[in-house]
Symmetry: C2
Subunit: 139 residues, 2 copies
DNA sequence: ATGATCCTTCCAGTAGATGGAAGGTCAAGC
DNA sequence: GCTTGACCTTCCATCTACTGGAAGGATCAT
């Protein structure tokens, strides 16, 4: 199976597959002509990686997950811990974004959005660094 | 005012300030010795940038915002449009993360997290690429 | 044989900094 | 006057996770 087929089968672009080989996530053997030859097992790993990346795991986390996946003697505890760490980061990110969202939505609402120059958004950016938030929300 | 002071005053690391100069966001003048000399106006711009970046605007959006801020004849409409675009991207990102969060939390909950190798998380990653989701949630 | 479509490697670029090396400058203290 | 240390300067490398493209070899269909 050449890289094109492996790409179709795994859902990853060929470029990405080459990159994953470069960083040592997979090691497909090579045909006599130098072409990469993907065994079903390789394609399976690629699909695993694609799914793990889609769930937001970092490439290094994916490496660890793949290692655990291939280790018959793994403890599910290790997998769970890894996933929990990732979940915690996602939650942190969501919280961060929701906080931004509130501030930004307030500012947008306060802005007339017409042809005049007066703008609470710019006013906040200019003053906000000092401390002022819209609507005087201060801690 | 040297870069160290400007950094303290604006809340941005000196490295970042140099970077912002490099990409043309600010143009502090130079003292005879080659040191950057920050006028209050420069520091104000840096603080503006720090706040805008903290709100998640991209550097290019910050450039545009700074341009609007300095343009007395701006229309608040333009600022608002920019901010609305950013808000939309934040909302999209939040949605994406929340979706990941649900899947991941389900998987984590299903995982015993003990010393045994059986693990629904790995099972999902291995099979998930095909289509299976935990709890058979399919569209 | 020829052209299209594969495949290969290698280099560069993306965003937004950050770290570090090598070296110039300045103010204080002795 | 000289050293020490805290500044400052530039330049280059590194990070994440790819992606784009150039140059060239291999394969396939006609």
């Amino acid at each position: 199976m050449n890289i094109g087929e492996a790409a179709d089968a795994s859902g990853l672009p060929a470029k990405t597959i080459r990159y994953y080989e470069e960083i040592g996530l997979i090691r497909p053997r090579r045909d006599a002509n130098g072409y990469r030859a993907f065994a079903p097992r390789d394609v399976h790993k690629l699909a695993f990686l694609a799914r793990a990346r889609a769930l937001g795991f970092s490439v290094e986390e994916c490496r660890a997950l793949l290692g655990l996946y291939e280790d018959e003697t793994r403890a599910s505890e290790d997998v769970k811990r890894l996933a929990q760490g990732h979940l915690a980061r996602i939650d942190a990110k969501i919280g961060e974004l929701q906080s931004l969202r509130v501030t930004l939505a307030d500012l947008i609402e306060a802005c007339a959005g017409d042809h005049r120059p007066d703008c609470p958004i710019l006013a906040d950016l200019a003053a906000g660094a000092a401390q002022g938030r819209t609507k005087g929300r201060m801690r």
